[in-house]
């Protein structure tokens, strides 16, 4: 085990703190990733459900009961979105964690509480992003689907949503990266994620600069890796840039690769 004195150079301290704490750091980073990933996925799910509900068309042919229900649901969803976008996640964490225990007698574990808070917070943001994505799809896509007899929900799930999701994927990556960083606010309710762990480690040696240098590097590695991975998936979802002509006029077996017109 290496030893350091208060006068040791910066990097000696960094190395020392890392060697002393690395299993805890890694575990805490794992917690951060789990909360951010699960929260983003669940939040995305919430966003899709709300985005789809809020884009159900209301027109002259809508019956009065359906119209009323849709308006009420829409209003409730709007309240949810505005409240969670309009208050800090740190405050939401306090209210939900202590509120759940006091009002409902539910004692959430730290991890579940963390995932829950990040999910509903992300859901509020994603709801608007998904709605925007759906609204940005050309009206002609709906019309073409309706013209062959597809219902609104068939059109939504087979035609519009797949296109909308592709459009909002960059926003989803963005939300994931934000969540990796923002899980740090969960330290206020005692979730042992990377920020909480760093505070503990720094407190043990009173070396905040050195400790949080390690923390920054770890956050950066996580966000950078995640961004690269998601970028790869975005590219993949764009589909192959070539397609095959099956059987040309002259040579029936010919498979001719044609390069994409727009991307070439």
């Amino acid at each position: 085990m290496m030893s350091v004195t208060p006068d040791s150079p910066f990097f000696d301290w960094v190395l020392f703190i890392w060697l002393q704490n690395w299993p805890f750091f890694l575990k805490a980073a794992g917690i951060t990733l789990i909360i951010a990933l699960t929260g983003t996925i669940i939040g995305f799910g919430i966003g899709i459900v709300i985005g789809v509900i809020r884009t159900i068309p209301i027109d002259n042919t809508t019956g009065p009961i359906k119209r009323f229900v849709l308006k009420v649901v829409d209003l409730l969803l709007l309240c949810y979105i505005e409240i969670f976008r309009g208050t800090p996640m740190m405050v939401q964490a306090m209210v939900i964690f202590y509120g759940a225990a006091m009002v409902f007698g539910i004692q959430l574990t730290m991890l579940y509480a963390g995932i829950f808070i990040v999910s509903i917070n992300t859901g509020a943001y994603m709801a608007e992003i998904v709605r925007g994505g759906i609204l940005s799809i050309d009206k002609g896509q709906f019309e073409a689907a309706h013209s062959i007899g597809m219902t609104h929900s068939q059109t939504m799930f087979s035609i519009v949503l797949p296109q909308a999701i592709r459009l909002i994927l960059p926003a989803l990556s963005n939300e994931f990266v934000i969540n990796i960083k923002d899980t740090s606010v969960l330290s206020v309710i005692g979730v042992v994620e990377l920020f909480f762990q760093s505070k503990t480690a720094a407190g043990a040696n009173f070396r905040f600069f050195e400790t949080f240098t390690i923390t920054s590097v770890m956050y950066f590695i996580m966000t950078f890796t995640v961004t690269r991975i998601l970028r790869y998936f975005e590219k993949k979802l764009e589909g192959p840039s070539v397609y095959t002509i099956h059987g040309s006029q002259t040579v029936p077996e010919a498979e001719i690769k044609i390069v994409d017109r727009e991307r070439d």
Binding site: D59, A144, A145, H146, S147, I148, G149, H246
Partner: protein
């Protein structure tokens, strides 16, 4: 002759703006009807009303004698019987050429995948696009897109096909390939209702040509009469203007 659709006293307004005023007209089985007229005369709106993409303000649309605006048939079932081909093609961008022609058959007609694919291939072959089944819409040309759109509509095996200015968004050299497909469909006996600016197509292919102006049908007759001997002054002026170009 069997009437597929009959329109009675159809009106359509967008707010204060009355686009269609008292339209009366019908389409018989196997007929090819071309609707001509200046921009803003209401011809596209009429076509969109027939597919219920616009809901008429008043009037009746009788489908085999039954008013579809009142009761009985669901809009989705009726729409599947009236295929539509759009000016902007509107192919499903997330699906391949083949899946564009398959998705409606599976979702609406509840056909199994094998039957749907077989039917789709048949019609894609008819429009000369069966080689491109794995291509996505953004990989093919405008003329090819429109031919796929026609195959998509035909795959639903509709009773009539509505064309909303099918060649207006195409580059001039691609208009021919689409018109060729439409001519062969007309010959095969398909009931077609075509809103078009292609006067030659209307004159040579249609059984009846309808001239619309300012939301009303001004003249409705065989193309020989409309093009050679129109009785209405407005028809004469319009044709003189477009045929001079």
């Amino acid at each position: 002759m069997e009437k597929i659709i009959e329109i009675q006293h159809l009106k359509k307004s967008f707010g204060e703006n009355e686009v269609l005023t008292d339209i009366n007209f019908s389409v018989n089985k196997g007929e090819v009807v071309c609707i001509i007229g200046a921009s803003g005369s209401g011809k596209s709106t009429l076509l969109r009303c027939l597919n219920l993409l616009e809901i008429p303000t008043s009037g009746k649309i009788l489908y085999h004698g039954k008013n579809i605006l009142e009761h009985g048939m669901s809009n989705a079932v009726y729409r599947a019987k009236m295929g539509m081909v759009f000016q902007q093609f509107n192919l499903f961008n997330n699906l391949t050429v083949l899946d564009n022609c398959v998705v409606g058959q599976i979702k609406v007609l509840k056909r199994d995948a094998a039957t749907a694919k077989k039917t789709a291939m048949e019609y894609l072959d008819q429009v000369g696009m069966s080689q491109y089944i794995t291509a996505k819409p953004n990989q093919i040309s405008g003329g090819q897109k429109q031919r796929v759109a026609i195959a998509r509509a035909l795959s639903m095996e509709p009773e009539a096909l509505l064309f909303d200015e099918p060649t207006s968004a195409l580059d001039p050299e691609m208009v021919g390939e689409v018109l060729k497909v439409m001519k062969s469909l007309a010959k095969s006996g398909l009931t077609m209702l075509v809103v078009t600016h292609e006067m030659a197509f209307a004159r040579d292919v249609s059984n009846r040509t309808v001239f619309m102006d300012k939301g009303v049908i001004v003249e409705d007759d065989v193309p020989e009469v409309i093009f050679n001997n129109p009785s209405n002054e407005r028809t004469k002026t319009f044709l003189k203007r477009v045929l001079e170009d």
